[in-house]
Symmetry: D2
Subunit: 396 residues, 4 copies
């Protein structure tokens, strides 16, 4: 195991949190989101609980109460602080959480530097799991603070520099001939348990769009009454859209919005409020909105296996995109799926109902984290991720 | 189109409702369930709205307000009475609803008897759709009144005769070799749009149980702490079970239940409260309970395609069972799925997210209604259907 | 005790229920309201539980389960069916409830006819309490069915005859000189425990309106923006009105209401939908609406003691009015208040917080039931009673 | 107007907040409570909006968006940030809020120092209102942070020094002869509008306890089943206690509580978790718990007028106590009550329904803020104030 990689991933978390004040890092704007400070502590808890306590002899936990405070959802690891109340933990303060990180990092260096550690493959794979886990929380740290900032009428910006403008691209369709395809992770690198076992599926011929649906495309959908036509929507989506008064994506500001007066559409994001960029991919969509858009466009969402098979097409750029892409696939186990052994078996398998698979990766995904077989997943109503869509259709 | 079949299906609805008083038929015990009177009126509304008004010249609607009162969920057919308030409609009374049925039935006889009707294939298929629709409501009429009765501390019996005892059967596994399989509806008979297009899927070899999980099996699960061990459960299921205090299937009465004192487990059903029959299939399970049981049993649920492919096995009796069987398949569209044209396009497609497929049929399913390609569907938390499970597993 | 009076009160309940079908009598449209059938059973339960079981030797309860089903809120009398589920009791059916009434009535005749009964003053006072209790439920039977009917888009009429038109009257102020006043019940007749002890209060001089606020008055308030001006409202009232979108009294139909198209304001009541009668008292007001109206009118609500003292004024007609009148008095105990002994001690005292006193009586109050010291009470948000207001003000 | 007093009151707020980190000061643990930072900003907003903007020529608001962010409930002063989302405002940060305070304080010094200001009585009374308002928020700052800390399983202490032990005192009754009493504010000092007009009331003779109910008294109530006996409780209180599982006052820790293991009862307060002090007044009681205790003790709560009249008794120490005392009086207007003119008319009057009066003062009340005519008020379910009770009873 490479101690440099450990340090680099851990440092990246702290760099992402650096623009945020201690007050920012305490915010929890909904039960599904967590404070940045909590993300910093929980990822540290993971290493402490699953590596240091069982494997580093003489390790002294930083604070035994943190076992309770920073467990996320592992039933096998005992009771835990209720998720909706993570925003009430002003103590430990950010300073103490950072001290916790340093304490655990120092012990991890000891563990990684020991002679036996360098030989221990299960240790290496657990550390790698911890780092991949931390990378997932790096993305959530950004999406969660963005949601919190979206609830502040001042709409603060996480980044002060201006965003890169998108590049206008016509919609081009890539054809796939269907037939048998291998899906799931193969090879030596890291993958989550939910990416396997690799297996063969049978696909019909299909076409898939080379680029994602853009904000400009989506503005056309809105202008054409997309949010007012029930025939375009799945039943649950329409009911939710009506109940919550959806008229555009969650972070769009309609012309005249009192929080940032303008005559144009604007979009709130990591760069604060910006004029809508028609060529940028649309993000922060729920599955319901993505599916309604596809229906309106005379197309459909790809399945996760179509998406994965398309990765073999020459012009298909799977993970360089700026948004996760909703697929028309439920997040269910692959044939023969087995969760990891031990407490980490709760990592993925127990969430395999009620969610949909997203493929790709987003501008918030740490570089090198995603891959073609990567299965991200969220409930269909989720609107706070960098989630957009790519169209598919039958061969015409 | 056969007018006798029309009459027979319609009469069966009324026969099912016959043991119920007008008061019983007004009950709505939760938003997901509907009063028996409403089922009788809504199925009639379907014929009036989709057949008589557009096709029978000179037809006079029984009461124009019924268009609003008895539309279920068809957005294309205008606004409708809110679903959670169906139980507040003491007017029209049952007598008036029965008069509505007679009015529509008479007009339907005219329509079916006309010379052109006998040649009109789209008419015939719409009438058949209306009858299949009515058969679906026949099953719901029973499951809904059973739920309503389960909320009455007197636990009234729908049927007065004693239930047939089950037949004890050991668990036997049937092997399927996997490979390519054709799934979806084929042939000339009626099928819903969601059963097509027929297509080929690729299966791994698997084993499937010859019989359903029985009440005796499930009692063992309970006795072994099945409702107290989070490791057996999907995360959403465990959260719901804790929030609602589940300790056994919804209609089971633990020994000592004050509503019907006994030292034994008892089960409430259409025959009222009966001693638990260990050989009878367990029913009224949520998907979550079914999945937890399968995990406990060291097995899993079959996918809907495994289930359908198993129908070709000699000892597999698909639709003669007493319970729908939860599968490990989300209710999503088949490749190339197209909803029916017109308002009836809202029949199935718009519900294709957030639900799971059940296969088989139940003691409440009208004879001849189900078939191997039939896709029933409910949300994973549903506990008021005759829903149980059949185990599957990898080839050992 | 007069057995004729017993029979007359009981018969009046049945006469009030007579226009209602069994289905109508099962309706529960909100947790605060009860089905007419339940009112018929609960008032019977009162006599059975508090008189027949303890006092009539050899009495056999009609059905022991009814002790549980028809207890309203008496903790001392054991557990009871949850209030929000009273509408789910299709069994016992109306026929069985009427048989229950006959069974109890027959036994009550025995009890009342016995030699010792005629001497027994506590028996007589308990029977009278039971009859007064039944009269209270007679009024609730009407207000509850009216609420249930208001939830049916057909807006059925309880009575078929046309309502009596009101008589236009100018607003005339009656002056009271203030000073010491005796309040609370005095004399030999029946009164509830909450009407005593009689005591002296000190009043400032005030004026009180001779008539109630009329529908015409209230229409002026609406036209003048009464429902859009927060400055007129108490804070809780404004919050509720905004949350629920109040724009007029609950049973008023604005011009163009799709349930009963008209170009005029209409009002739904026991006579069904009728054109607004400007001279009729406005009813079905919450306290919040009554208080906002008074503020708009440059006046205020009277306290309950001002109201009671005004009964001595020559032109003040306390109980002949058509609506209960909200007062500016919380429903709290009088100095030295003692609840009745035994289980009936739960009758009034335990509700003495969170409610306001209404005085007067309504068109739904049984003749002879109300009196000047009578304290009706409801929470400030209640909008389904015949509740209106009478203005008061300081001496100008 | 005395500029020293202005500075002293403002400085006291900052001194109270000083032990709290920026993270602590951002906490909102329920919609009824507000972050300490918000209290600091809102009290500043009051001076800016009601004094500086209308009266100090050339005043430049610190940030025009703060008009929206820090308005509490004044409808006349425009829209405002939703109360339940005050905890989501990480921006402005604490530093910026403190800068806001300095900006406003400097301008207030200008205003107060001007020649005309020294003559301007309405200015002086508005400034005094602003200071009294700030003192009210000083108490809320403490009760709100204590509630927030009570939601943290670490149960942090606001103060590090040990609490003063109470002094054991037997319960002694003071007799009042009843008759006419003057109530309401009199004299030249400041009073809120709700303390007037002063008027005469008529009281029955009564006795009132010299001291408050102590923690030791209340522990006896618990040990005697006080939380399990519905007959002691008002109906709404019992329902709430059952729904929320109350078994002791909100901040008491039963023996064995995992947050602070001990074999004794402990109480959480500003000093953190401390062993229960039997002689200290019980606090953080709801009205419901106070009323149930009084019933159990064979006594009752005093009315607010009895309490105020008792202030004339030689041994009665009204405002030196450690807890506000629930009275048996609804918070309603006095006869002839008129709110203040202008926007500040929303200060007290619009809350005059649904709440009960508390009298006295607490350990969190700033010195000199309370007086015998002072009317504090909260809804009966409130459990996060320093609210206890003092018994009263009829003359034996």
């Amino acid at each position: 195991m490479d101690a440099n990689r450990y340090r680099a991933v851990r440092a990246h978390t702290e760099a992402l949190a650096a623009p945020l004040s201690a007050e920012d890092q305490s915010l929890q704007s909904m039960p599904d989101a967590s404070p940045a400070k909590w993300h910093q502590a929980h990822t540290t808890w993971f290493f402490e609980t699953l590596l240091l306590i069982p494997r580093l002899s003489g390790y002294r936990p930083f604070n035994p109460r943190f076992q309770y405070l920073f467990n996320s959802y592992y039933e096998a690891l005992g009771p835990r602080h209720p998720r909706p109340q993570r925003g009430l933990l002003s103590r430990p303060g950010l300073d103490e959480v950072l001290a916790y990180r340093r304490h655990v990092d120092a012990a991890m260096q000891d563990l990684l530097g020991s002679a036996e550690a360098r030989q221990d493959l299960t240790l290496a794979s657990m550390v790698e799991l911890g780092l991949q886990h931390e990378q997932q929380h790096q993305e959530l740290l950004l999406t969660d603070i963005l949601h919190a900032f979206s609830c502040n009428p001042l709409l603060p910006a996480y980044r002060t520099e201006a965003p890169r403008p998108g590049v206008e691209k016509p919609l081009r369709w890539l054809a796939h001939g269907g037939g048998e395809a291998q899906v799931g992770h193969a090879g030596a690198g890291f993958a989550f348990d939910n990416e396997g076992p690799r297996h063969t599926v049978l696909l019909q011929p299909f076409e898939i769009a080379e680029r994602l649906v853009s904000c400009g495309d989506f503005a056309d959908f809105i202008a054409d009454g997309g949010y007012r036509r029930p025939g375009l929507w799945l039943s649950d989506g329409w009911a939710l859209a009506q109940a919550q008064g959806w008229q555009h994506p969650a972070y769009w500001l309609a012309p005249g919005d009192p929080r940032a007066p303008s005559e144009q559409w604007q979009v709130f994001g990591l760069h604060g409020v910006q004029p809508l960029d028609p060529s940028a991919p649309v993000t922060q969509l729920s599955f319901y909105e993505a599916a309604a858009y596809a229906e309106w466009a005379g197309a459909r969402l790809p399945t996760e296996f179509e998406w994965e098979a398309a990765c073999a097409l020459p012009d298909f750029a799977p993970c360089s995109d700026q948004a996760w892409q909703w697929t028309r696939s439920a997040y269910h186990p692959y044939p023969g799926f087995k969760p990891m052994a031990g407490a980490v078996g709760e990592y993925n398998g127990k969430f395999m109902v009620g969610q949909l698979v997203l493929r790709g990766g987003s501008l918030a995904t740490p570089p090198g984290h995603a891959r073609p077989s990567y299965r991200n997943f969220f409930p269909p109503a989720a609107r706070w991720q960098f989630s957009g869509l790519r169209l598919a259709r039958e061969i015409q």
